[in-house]
């Protein structure tokens, strides 16, 4: 459309662009600030934490302290285990459920659909769930307590079901004639045709596992089994950096404690930041499918 734009519209366009730039600065600056602090010299940082564009002095001491910290390392290990096993199980279970709910010949299809949808609106809540997982199923202090509850997110399952429903049935017919059973149809035909949505699911579930902390707060008692986010909570929000600065001289401890916080944030967030630019378009695809379904 080529047309004359009024002066008012031009002013609006310029203001709009300026507003968007402001939004980006407001979004990014906090992260940049954390980066600059993490590389700063701890002693110079104290009492000088105003707006800054570049590190004050340069030091890697805080990163050394963080990477030598046994809690951070064991946290990384737990989180990686939960992300890998949990996400695999999530995607598998979600795919199976979505597959079942698209089988027209399956007698339980209607019942199971209602059974799944109902859980989106009503649930047992925190305490009964805690009792079931911790006391009845005896999963207390086990990493399974971080993996099994929430194995299927009904919301994600619906996204997947919508996707599966679009696969033409004729593709399955020929396989059936060749004698393939339903399990083979799922793994040999449906899943290979759904790689984009599987990527979305891996990312949705993977990031959720990486960032989750509350279930661990409920179920994990042994410190060595804490996932990364729970360790982070102690350092960032309960101000417990004593373990990390234990090796340093008493005079340095106070200073180091401050910049360690920033280095910890970076160490725990870098994996997400590294994959983010690549996965971003998949996330958007996923939520669009969900949106269309409403």
């Amino acid at each position: 459309m080529v047309m004359k734009r009024s002066a008012g519209e031009k002013v609006f366009s310029v203001c709009n662009i300026l507003f968007m730039i402001l939004m980006m600065v407001v979004t990014l600056y906090p992260f940049w600030y954390v980066v600059t602090c993490s590389f700063s010299d701890s002693a110079q940082l104290i009492g000088a934490r105003g707006m800054m564009m570049l590190p004050k002095g340069f030091s890697l001491a805080s990163y050394q302290a963080v990477l030598q910290n046994p809690n951070i390392l064991s946290g990384y290990r737990t989180t990686l285990i939960v992300v890998v096993i949990g996400t695999t199980l999530n995607v598998l279970m979600t795919a199976i459920c979505a597959f079942l709910l698209t089988r027209k010949k399956f007698a339980l299809r209607g019942v199971m659909t209602y059974m799944a949808l109902f859980t989106m609106y009503f649930g047992g809540g925190m305490i009964p769930t805690y009792l079931v997982v911790y006391k009845w199923l005896n999963l207390g202090d086990s990493l399974w307590a971080l993996i099994l509850p929430g194995a299927i997110s009904t919301y994600n399952m619906i996204i997947m079901r919508t996707n599966f429903a679009e696969i033409p049935e004729s593709l399955e017919e020929s396989a059936k004639i060749d004698g393939a059973n339903d399990i083979l149809i799922l793994f040999r035909i449906i899943l290979p045709l759904s790689l984009p949505i599987i990527a979305v699911m891996v990312l949705f579930y993977g990031v959720a596992h990486w960032n989750s902390w509350f279930n661990a707060l409920l179920y994990i008692r042994t410190r060595a089994k804490y996932p990364l986010q729970l360790v982070l909570r102690e350092i960032l929000l309960m101000n417990d950096t004593s373990q990390m600065t234990a090796g340093s001289a008493a005079s340095d401890r106070f200073f180091l404690g401050e910049s360690i916080k920033y280095a910890t944030i970076i160490v725990a967030t870098v994996p997400i930041l590294l994959v983010y630019p690549f996965i971003q378009k998949y996330f958007v695809t996923g939520i669009m499918i969900g949106a269309v379904k409403g």
Binding site: M1, F12, S13, N16, M20, M23, M24, V26, T27, L28, P30, Y33, V34, R49, G50, M51, I96, C97, F99, L100, F106, A107, L108, M112, M115, T119, Y121, G123, G124, G125, M126, I127, P128, T129, Y130, L131, V132, W136, L137, G150, A151, I152, I183, N211, W213, F214, L218, L232, R233, I235, L236, L237, I265, T269, Y276, P277, I287, M288, A291, G294
Partner: protein
């Protein structure tokens, strides 16, 4: 099993063919792989979704770990009465409703306005960059976000220092009862505005472009187009999102509350779900906290259904 099937296939035994058990057996055998696949799925939903729902009966019983649910004594509505007449009921309801109200008032329209403004950007690449940047905070963990909030607003934090330039106090803002709710709502908007706009951008992309062309011929400017085409076009999406939001009025994001609050700010920050957590997990008062949690879920469902009905009557849009 095999015998039944041959009998059916040949059609010699009609009586057997029409009996219910045989039909069930037949169905089970024919779709045996589907039923095999259904076992883990049903097991998951039963164990982790429906067993906790059944576990809600402890809200009406004096549940003791040693006794189990069945043997525990039935006490009816005792724990509900205890909650409603307790000293914290008023405070919890007030905090929950106020924080929810602010979240809806400011947090709900923010992504809509943001999406509308982004929709007006003519430079595709610039728009893409804005999207990529503003979606980012959604993927950062809540622990890190809250850690940054606490640090930036501590008495020596970077935001506190900025405030002092404009005459603000040098104090720990997160621990201050006057600012806690504002910090909660604003940081929520900061983290979610970009991601929340995706769904509205999708709705905006679905509006028929011919409508705009027709409007231009009729002499409508940008503002008129927004008012008469864009907003009605995304109204169904807005209504669906609003219905879902209203269905969560009593469940303020407890994870974030628990990360940010402290005994000093309970007065303004303690909400129903954080109270459930403290009573249930912290003090092992299972029956009492299950009753409080059930009250919260039931009110949420009632609000959801009510909002859905109202929306269907007023705008013709509904969730179910």
């Amino acid at each position: 099993m095999k015998a039944t099937i041959t009998a059916n296939n040949t059609g010699t035994d009609l009586r057997k063919h029409f009996s219910l058990t045989t039909k069930v057996k037949n169905e089970l055998w024919q779709n045996r792989y589907l039923y095999l696949l259904a076992i883990p799925v049903i097991a998951y939903y039963v164990m982790f979704c429906y067993l906790p729902m059944f576990g809600l009966v402890i809200a009406f019983k004096q549940y003791e770990l040693g006794k189990g649910i069945m043997e525990s004594q039935w006490v009816g509505l005792k724990y509900f009465q205890e909650f409603f007449s307790g000293i914290y009921f008023g405070r919890l309801m007030k905090n929950t409703l106020i924080i929810s109200f602010y979240s809806i008032l400011f947090g709900f329209p923010a992504p809509i306005i943001f999406a509308l403004l982004m929709n007006e950007l003519r430079q595709r690449r610039f728009k893409k960059v804005v999207q990529t940047v503003t979606y980012l905070p959604h993927f950062i963990s809540l622990v890190v976000i809250c850690g940054m909030v606490v640090d930036f607003l501590s008495s020596d934090g970077v935001l506190t220092r900025m405030f002092t330039i404009f005459g603000g106090q040098k104090t720990n803002y997160v621990g201050d009862t006057r600012y806690f709710r504002a910090i909660y709502v604003i940081s929520d908007i900061w983290q979610g505005i970009g991601w929340g706009s995706i769904i509205y951008l999708a709705a905006l992309a679905g509006i028929d472009q011919q409508l705009y062309e027709a409007a231009v011929i009729d002499g409508a400017g940008r503002w008129k187009q927004t008012l008469h085409i864009t907003l009605p076009g995304i109204l169904p999406t807005i209504m669906i999102m609003l219905i879902m939001r209203i269905g969560q009025i009593l469940s303020v994001g407890y994870e974030k509350i628990i990360l940010l609050y402290g005994p000093g700010t309970y007065e303004v920050a303690d909400v129903i779900s954080s109270y459930v957590y403290r009573m249930g997990i912290g003090q092992s008062r299972y029956s009492f906290s299950a009753a409080v949690g059930l009250f919260q879920s039931v009110v949420n469902v009632i609000l959801l259904v009510a909002a859905n009905k109202t929306s269907r009557r007023l705008s013709g849009t509904s969730l179910f």
